[in-house]
Point group: C2
Chain length 149, copies 2
DNA sequence: TAATTGAGGACTATTCTAGTCCTATTTAAT
DNA sequence: ATTAAATAGGACTAGAATAGTCCTCAATTA
């Protein structure tokens, strides 16, 4: 199903909450209460987001987490890779080591184009877009196949 | 990592092999030998591809598998969904049942736009593209964020 | 009728994910 | 100073998903 992990899903919920009052410092406990996600899980996610420079943390009493940048500057791609590592559909796209698929792996080059396309797509959507009210576009067609012509 | 399953990866290898001699009927055994993927695994994949109408099978001696359509008409999206079910990043995008994320799930609408975008991307790349020699495009930018403006 | 090949599904083992918990560190308030 | 409130980091467990195998049945050809 080409799925995103549950944690990533939670992360977007958490970040959308935080993006609404962007400059506000929030403790993990508070976020847990508001979102309904269990505290240990929230903590885990927040730590990952700090390591990926999506959030900034301050320790100690009155400490907590804030967005590291404006919502417009935090891409969905950044969030996904914070939680799941590099965005790539195939193992090969990250490291080609240990791939013994001698025959057939000339596919690699083309896969990486697809990966690139998806990465661009995710890179161009930001947190700001996510919390924006939904707009249904008239007609959207993005022909990737045009890349090959 | 937003990854594709290993089986899907194998499927593309198998299909690229088959696309090179598109009208040729191939037995599972032969495909296993050529690709180096174990026979039971190859069989499993082939069956899934038949169920998804990507391949056509004939039983009995001299039986085997052929592409159901021209390589140009078999999209990567079709292959992925054959192996992994519907293409969607989040569970919610498929069924909204059992989602108690009351606060924060207005995100849904926007996620589905992202899903749509990725789906379009995968839909527009075909088997024919995959076996084509790699062409590196000059500059490729597909701003999904434009959907929101 | 025997040999060849796919269909369908059950089953197992391994890997990955989700989720929890513990201990150390930092900061603020008293 | 001391205590309380937070995060950091990492170990650990249980459960779910994936990969992979195998067995029996059905169809086709020679």
């Amino acid at each position: 199903m080409l799925r995103l992990s549950k944690l990533t899903d939670y992360a977007t919920v958490i970040l959308s909450f935080m993006a609404r009052e962007k400059a506000q410092v929030r403790a993990a406990m508070e976020i847990s209460t508001v979102t309904g996600i269990a505290l240990p899980t929230v903590s885990k996610i927040l730590k990952l987001l700090v390591n990926a420079d999506v959030l900034i943390s301050t320790r100690g009493a009155k400490g907590g987490y804030v967005l590291a940048r404006m919502p417009e500057e935090i891409s969905v791609a950044a969030v996904i890779s914070a939680l799941e590592g590099p965005i790539a559909l195939t193992e090969c796209s990250i490291s080609h080591q240990g791939c013994e698929q001698a025959s057939g792996c000339d596919i690699l080059g083309n896969w990486s184009l697809i990966n690139q396309t998806i990465h661009n797509a995710l890179e161009s959507v930001t947190l700001a877009d996510l919390i924006r009210p939904v707009v249904v576009p008239e007609e959207v067609l993005i022909p990737v196949s045009s890349l090959y012509r």
